[in-house]
Every structure is written in structure tokens, then in C-alpha cells.
Symmetry: C2
Subunit: 254 residues, 2 copies
Amino acid sequence: MSAGHLAIVGLGPGPHDLMTFEAEAALRRATDLVGYGPYVDRLSLAPGQIRHGSDNRVEIDRARHALDLALGGARVAVVSGGDPGVFAMAAAVFEAIEQGDPRWRDLDIEVHPGISAMLAVAARLGAPLGHDFAVISLSDNLKPWAAIAKRLTAAAEGDFVMAFYNPASKARPYLIHDVFELLRGLKAPDTIVAFARAVSRPDEKIELTNLAEADPSIADMSTLILVGSSETRRIARGDGGYWVYSPRSYGIAR
Amino acid sequence: MSAGHLAIVGLGPGPHDLMTFEAEAALRRATDLVGYGPYVDRLSLAPGQIRHGSDNRVEIDRARHALDLALGGARVAVVSGGDPGVFAMAAAVFEAIEQGDPRWRDLDIEVHPGISAMLAVAARLGAPLGHDFAVISLSDNLKPWAAIAKRLTAAAEGDFVMAFYNPASKARPYLIHDVFELLRGLKAPDTIVAFARAVSRPDEKIELTNLAEADPSIADMSTLILVGSSETRRIARGDGGYWVYSPRSYGIAR
């Protein structure tokens, strides 16, 4: 093992309270903090810690930079919003390792999980992920539309609850409309749909609707979209709002 | 709103370090802690807090008990291993509310997310959930085999990475063998498979294998099973072990 150390750390959806104790400890131990600017900027640094914020959205470049710092003997923390393993920095780091400097394979590497957006959104709504679900990134610079359509069709055929990450694409703004057009051909019009933006942050906004009435143009890159299974339902609360949940049993009369 | 309060709190996979700050604060504020015995027993209580441990595995009974305590004015925390929204207590609570005392709908209810087993396991392995994945409970007392088989088939057709919860059934010990027999007809023999038992706890054990060689009889109720997509791969580490990850791109030449 080399002297260098790399921790890939999940910050959770935003507020410090939704980070784990382990993630915070990993940040405290680091000599160097690497990440996308807005994530690195929200960290309060200890004396001597070095911030390597980047406005570069190319994750693999950040991963390589972090691996090189670790190889040089630094104790590096790569920070990631949500959980680093779900459409975030962890896969970029391992992709870099597979393709890159063979000495990177000798580094001491740890991944510290975090609360992924789907879990924070589900907690706010009730328990929409209480039964089988499929998690899909709609980022089409990383896969062609045919691959996205295949996954959506399979998820609908399996009647999974669905969670969509990265729903807005600057390169292809109509993609999210294509997604909903496809789903409308496969699922019932009254299927529950939620657009959850910036959950747990001050600008949190949740829109609860159904597949027939959903307007996907409200989704931006901070939005997670949930689409229910045939059994996902809502319960009226005393305060006029609703809870959304997916029953634990399936295809068994309740 | 009634005076009562109910928090549904995710404890994460086991060690205190993998809990969030928010979850710990919710536990500290509670007057009454309700949960399955082993989960409640591992909490250190403040003076005056009341423990309602139960060896009853029927989650809906615990949910009703907690709702009644809250209706009586208590500040109740229902504890759940992992994330309460993923095959755990949150869906049971909302199921109880939908079917039960209408006054339960007026309670102030909050769900505090936690690190679900799939995230802890993925972090230990590398980044196997770095691309689209499907999450399936194999608990067949809550759904018939036909429903499980439909979901598995759809997940295989969509080439999702799969995470299986609750793989061992006392009532039907051959179920997990049926699952693997079905998957062997649908996916390549060299598909990566991991059996991850008690991850992050002292008795953690991970077995990394492939679909052809996997022996599903090693799975118990503390085991989470991961099955890769066609693109999930492993990287040899300098120490003789392997990292497992799913590349972020799909169907695009790397």
C-alpha cells in the first residue's frame, strides 16, 4: 500500500444534519478536499486543510486529480452530494482507476455512504419506496436514448416504483418530455408522480400530481422525479396535505 | 394537529457512525422508543425515555402501537434498521394509518432517512450502484412468487444492476434457489454477484462470485445480494482484493 489515502464521502442532500457521523469524521481527517465547487464551498475547513474546488463538471478529471494527490501522499477526501455510489463520484473514481496509472490500485481507498436524494425525497413524502423500485439516471450524455427507453419500458413492465435522477438535459431539453410520453403509453393515467426539488434545502419544492397531468418541464437538475407503481397511493392528512406510500405487500388482497 | 408526535427513524446498517445527525437528534427528543427488540436494545437511553422493544415481527402491530402512543400525547420514535422507507417501518406506519383510527391522520409525523443496506454494501464493494439499478424484496409472505418472477424478469430485460433484500425465507427456503435458477436463464454466467452479510458490523462477511458459481444457500436474513448488469466489472486491487463498479455510461464505447 502507498502512503496516500482517498476517501469518497457522501454529503447527503444538503444540510449538515443529514450527513452521517462517519462522513463528517472522514472530512475532518482529510488534508485535501476535492469536489465540484458548490459542494466543497459549503464545507467549513479546519486549519491547514486545502480546498480544491472545481467548476469543471467533468467528474473523471476531478477523480484523476484526487488520485494523483493521494499518490503524492495526501489524505484526500473527494466529496459528493447525496450518496457517492448513486450516479455520483464513486463510479468516476473507479473508472479512472481502471483506465489510469497502475499505482492508483495500491492506494488505500474508502467510500463513505450518504443519504441519496431518493431516500430524502421518499422520507418527505411518506414511504413511496416501501416496495420494489427502479432507479434510473436520465443523463443522456452518458447513454443513448435507446438505452433509457429500454430501461423505462422494463421498469414499467415490472410495475416498479421509479426514481429518476438528472432529469434535465441542456443538450437535449425534450428528453424529459420523451420520457413522459413513453410512460403515458405504458402506465395508467392516475399513476402518482412527484417532482421533488432541492429536498431538505431552504428552496425545497414538492409537486404531487399524476401521470396524466404531470408537466415535466418543471424538472431541473436539482429535481428528483418519483413515479409510482400501480399500488402506490396517497392518504389525506388532517392538515390538507397527503402522504404517499407503496404498500409492502403486492398482488395480495388487503 | 394533535399534540402527539411520531418520528420514524432510520438507524442505518448498525454502527452509530453510520447514523445521521438528524436521526440521532430525533431519538434524543423522543419520550418513547418503539421497535423490534434488537434495534431498540442497541440504543442508549436518556433518563426518562421509555423503551418499547418487541419480539413481534409483525410490523403493522408495532406501527399501531406507536400511533396510539402518539395519539395519547407521547413523543414517539419508531426505529428501523437501515432506511425506514426501504422495505422497513415507514410503509407499515402509513398502511396502519390508511386502515386505522382516523385521528392518526392528524398526528405530526416525520420520517428521518438512514443509510439503507444497499448503500453500505455498495460503498464497501466500490460503486456497483453507479448505474441504473432495481431494488427488490424477496420476502414472499408479502407477495406471491409470480410477482417476484415478473419483477426479476423485467429487471433482467432492462439489464439493471439488482439489489435483493430479505433473501431468506423460513416459510419457503427454496425461494432463493428459484430466484437464481430464473436469473441463470436470463443473464450471462459471468455476471458479478455479491453476497454481503452484516456489512459494517463486526461479523461482516462479503462473498464475491459470479452467477454461474453463486451458492445462494449462504444468504440469510442479514444478507443483501447484489447482481451486476452486463457492464458491472471488477478491478484488481494492489492488495489482492477487488473493487466492483458499474460504469456511469452505458452502451457508449469507452
